[in-house]
């Protein structure tokens, strides 16, 4: 019996394990109560009116012309509905903006994790270099920022206990920022249908107390940080031949570029965010920086998503001060 009770508890009040989950739940239950009352009202009116005025019942049916063509009655039930809806709209919108475009807080220690979705698994890389498949270990209380991309089709990163979801797109970076506030193992689902084993593209987000997380980090084979690996790849792919400090080729210097405005040949200005840098590697002719010849070769089909993310981590590390505070909107708007 107790187990049954737990099960219902879990379904109606699923774990609220991120910093936003509690606020989402308050909005949800408020709407359940308000809409539930409307359902009760309408069902009651439907039953009472249809039974009371059933054919053959002896009730007063003297015509009430005043009521019948009453504009105020129509307005009277339209306005409260409209007002109620606007309240819910505003409340939901404010919370949504808060989830997807959280105000940058100075000095906040954000844990940046690279996420690649592919048919049918999740691949993660921690800033320390640790890789995981399908499971993601996180310390409780620390804000996490995921940089997500897909190797094939559209996936969607969904952790119900965190009340967050973000589609994961091929050739595109999306990001998702959240703060786990409870320890435990939480389901991770792919929410966007992605083919044969879509329902097998699941994992667990394991949220641990900070000291246990540190112990977990120690136990794992760390490898090198993505930025360090990126530095190596920067030479290996020949990027440094043109973009390196000693290069004689007329190519933009990439030091301190991340997050800065870039004037383009076309006269526009874009922000050198993750998406722009990525596109410059894959489709270099699309947005050529002003003053430089369009001579860079495309690396499409020659560089893996993992390597691209590492290169990006390296470029980002060239100017630590601008880390993770580039305006988010630019990134999700692209391309």
């Amino acid at each position: 019996m107790a187990a049954d009770q737990d099960r219902w508890q879990l379904l109606l009040f699923p774990d609220a394990a991120s910093s936003v989950a509690g606020s989402v739940d308050i909005l949800f239950w408020t709407m359940v109560v308000v809409c539930g009352l409307i359902v009760v009202l309408v069902f009651t009116l439907l039953l009472v009116l249809s039974v009371r005025y059933r054919a053959g019942a002896r009730v007063d049916r003297t015509p009430s012309p005043k009521l019948f063509n009453n504009r105020w009655l129509e307005i009277g039930w339209t306005l409260p509905v409209l007002a109620g809806f606007l309240v819910f709209f505003g409340w939901g919108a404010a919370l949504y903006v808060d989830i997807f475009d959280p105000p940058a807080r100075d000095g906040e220690d954000v844990r940046q994790i690279n996420v690649i979705g592919k048919q049918w698994m999740w691949k993660f890389q921690h800033p320390e270099g640790i890789r995981e498949i399908n499971d993601l270990h996180l310390p409780v209380g620390q804000t996490v920022e995921l940089r997500l991309t897909s190797q094939d089709v559209i996936h969607s990163f969904f952790v119900p206990a965190f009340r967050i979801k973000q589609d994961v797109l091929p050739q595109r970076y999306t990001r998702l920022r959240f703060t786990p506030v409870k320890t435990g193992r939480f389901d991770l689902f792919c929410a966007e249908y992605c083919g044969l084993s879509h329902s097998g593209m699941v994992g667990k987000v394991v949220v641990m107390a900070p000291e246990r997380f540190q112990a977990w980090l120690q136990r794992r084979d760390r490898g090198e940080s993505p930025a360090r690996e990126g530095e190596r790849l920067f030479r290996q792919y020949g990027c440094s031949g043109c973009h390196g400090a000693a290069s004689r080729v007329n190519a933009p210097d990439l030091t301190g570029l991340y997050g800065k405005p870039v004037p383009l040949e076309s006269g526009e200005t874009v922000t050198a965010d993750a998406q722009y840098l990525r596109d410059s590697v894959m489709f270099p002719s699309r947005q050529v920086a002003a003053g430089y010849p369009d001579i860079m070769p495309s690396f499409k089909d020659q560089i893996s998503e993992e390597d691209l993310l590492k290169l990006l981590a390296y470029l980002q590390s060239l100017d630590e001060s601008s880390r993770a505070d580039a305006p988010r909107q630019k990134e999700t708007d692209a391309p």
């Binding site: 379904l11 069902f43 439907l46 809806f85 949504y96 089709v153 969607s156 119900p160 973000q166 909107q329």
Partner: protein
């Protein structure tokens, strides 16, 4: 007293005995016979889609995917969606009751373009054949949404055949829409002003506008999809420089208005039925007519609410959320007006009314949960979960199909000249209502708890509610098979219906049941609107 007027002698000559043999059906230009061609074909597709749903619900009784392979499961839900959306729900009320009733309701001999009407059925059937071929040739596993780049680069199966089927059937919608628009504009009987039209006609008119304006976008999108899949031209595929989110925009620019193609005719039906069985003028006629138009118009501006977590700009999301809230206001107005119609009426609880009351209740719940998913922060949790599945089934099945069943029983005596067995019909209405709620209400809870849709296997915590849902689905199957049996029975054994068995006021009830081939002996003059119930009540 009312019971006595239900039966009457059968007319000697009517459209059903006006011709015999296959050619009299397959080459007919009579809108009433073309309606029958549609009746038979959409019923076939309905039970095909229902069979797929049955297998899906059987699979989901257990958390492990053990009855079907993942591949078979994915193909089944794709077939279910494609068949139910394009080959049942979208054509359902317009092509059957719209076809049959529109000329009768406006006092005309036929639709404006009878040949075009027959052509649109053939176009529908050819589209249907392509889809059936796709299903037989291994099926497709893209879902009814065809999202790229999965559908263009990764899906194996008869994607092109299925997309061609959907592309072709779109032209059937467009042709029907044009026919209805022209008919309403040009063929109204003398005295039948716009504000004397039954709300059913208003609903068909608004639906036709949406069909004509939205369907071409789907056609174009499917052509682009085919061009990419066949010729490798980069439109949606990002590795070719395309944008998969563009496909989502184009797809929903059609497919959201398509929801209104399904629900507006249903609202028209419910207005007729509630008014007739309350024996009362519809409350707030003009408000009802304008709210139909408002829904049709606003329906075009809300497509982005399918994409709140797609990576589109979050501020675009805010705008789409606001517009989605606004589109629900006219729907709310309609619910209150239907309720107010009951006040001081003479309410009878015949099967059409029971189905219409089901519509009211289920559409209300579907509409209010639509408000949940229009709320941005909540949609983040609910998007692509069973909450959404439950929401749109409440609208499309609880709403549109209940209204279709109401229409089927309400106009059955007119269409066939026979009365259906009332007791069995009421039993069916009650089974459908109970079975529907048992099937789909648990899915709201599943979605809130986080169960994603299109999952062949799921985590164990979700099993109990899935068992409820599957149990409800079996009730639903009984509730939908029952009418198939007793309606067919009544074709042969039902009592002959009188011209106006429900004591209704619409123009279609002034002609014999079934109507003569030419509909009206002489063109009617209309002196009052279709809801003149208060004159003798």
């Amino acid at each position: 007293m009312i019971r006595d007027v239900r039966t009457g002698p059968a007319p000697r000559h009517h459209y059903l005995n006006a011709g015999h043999g296959l050619a009299s059906w397959f080459l007919t230009k009579d809108h009433k016979r073309i309606a029958w061609l549609y009746f038979v074909s959409i019923t076939g597709f309905f039970f095909l889609g229902g069979l797929a749903a049955t297998l899906i619900r059987l699979e989901l009784i257990t958390p492990n995917g053990d009855l079907l392979s993942s591949d078979a499961y994915n193909r089944l839900f794709s077939l279910h969606g494609i068949v139910m959306v394009w080959f049942f729900l979208i054509p359902s009320i317009p092509t059957t009751f719209g076809n049959f009733l529109l000329p009768l309701m406006v006092g005309a001999r036929d639709l404006a373009f009878p040949r075009l009407n027959l052509l649109s059925w053939y176009v529908y059937i050819i589209g249907g054949l392509f889809t059936l071929i796709a299903a037989v040739a291994g099926g497709i596993d893209t879902g009814w949404t065809f999202y790229t780049p999965y559908s263009t680069l990764f899906a194996n199966g008869a994607v092109l055949a299925a997309a061609t089927g959907v592309f072709i059937v779109g032209f059937s919608s467009i042709l029907t829409g044009i026919n209805f628009i022209v008919t309403v504009h040009t063929m109204r009987a003398p005295g039948l002003t716009w504000f004397r039209l039954p709300l059913f006609v208003w609903a068909q008119y608004a639906t036709s506008l949406v069909m004509v304006l939205a369907t071409p976008v789907l056609s174009v999108t499917l052509v682009l999809l085919a061009v990419e899949r066949v010729f490798g031209v980069g439109i949606f595929d990002p590795s070719l420089g395309g944008d998969p989110v563009l496909f989502e925009h184009l797809f929903w620019f059609y497919s959201h208005p398509a929801v209104y193609i399904m629900i507006l005719p249903a609202m028209g039906v419910v207005s007729e039925v509630v008014s007739c069985f309350a024996h009362k003028r519809i409350f707030g006629y003009r408000v009802m007519a304008f709210s139909i138009l408002a829904i049709a118009l606003f329906g075009f501006l809300v497509w982005g609410h399918h994409m709140f977590v797609s990576g589109q700009s979050i501020y675009a999301g805010v705008a789409f959320s606001l517009l989605s809230f606004l589109v629900s206001v006219p729907s709310a107005i309609k619910i209150f007006n239907w309720l107010a119609t009951l006040y001081k009426g003479h309410v009878r609880f015949d099967a059409p009314m029971l189905f219409a009351m089901s519509f009211l209740g289920l559409f209300l719940i579907g509409g209010l949960t639509g408000v949940f998913v229009a709320t941005l922060a909540l949609d983040v949790q609910m998007h692509d979960t069973y909450f959404v599945v439950a929401h749109f089934h409440y609208i499309m099945v609880g709403g549109a199909v209940s209204a279709y069943m109401a229409a089927l029983h309400f106009w059955w005596p007119k269409i066939t000249g026979r009365l259906y067995p009332e007791m069995w019909a009421r039993v069916s209405a009650i089974i459908v209502f109970a079975g529907f709620n048992l099937t789909f209400f648990p899915q709201y809870i599943l979605g809130w708890a986080g169960m994603p849709r299109r999952y062949h296997a799921y985590v164990e915590d979700f099993q109990l509610l899935n068992v409820f849902s599957s149990a409800g689905a079996s009730m639903l199957a009984v509730g939908y098979l029952l009418p198939l049996i007793y309606l067919l029975w009544s074709l042969r054994y039902g009592a002959h219906a009188s011209a106006n068995p429900w004591n209704a006021r619409g123009l279609e009830w002034t002609v014999p049941s079934p109507p003569p081939e030419e509909n009206f002996e002489r063109p009617p003059r209309v002196e009052h609107e279709a809801y003149a119930y208060d004159t003798d009540a």
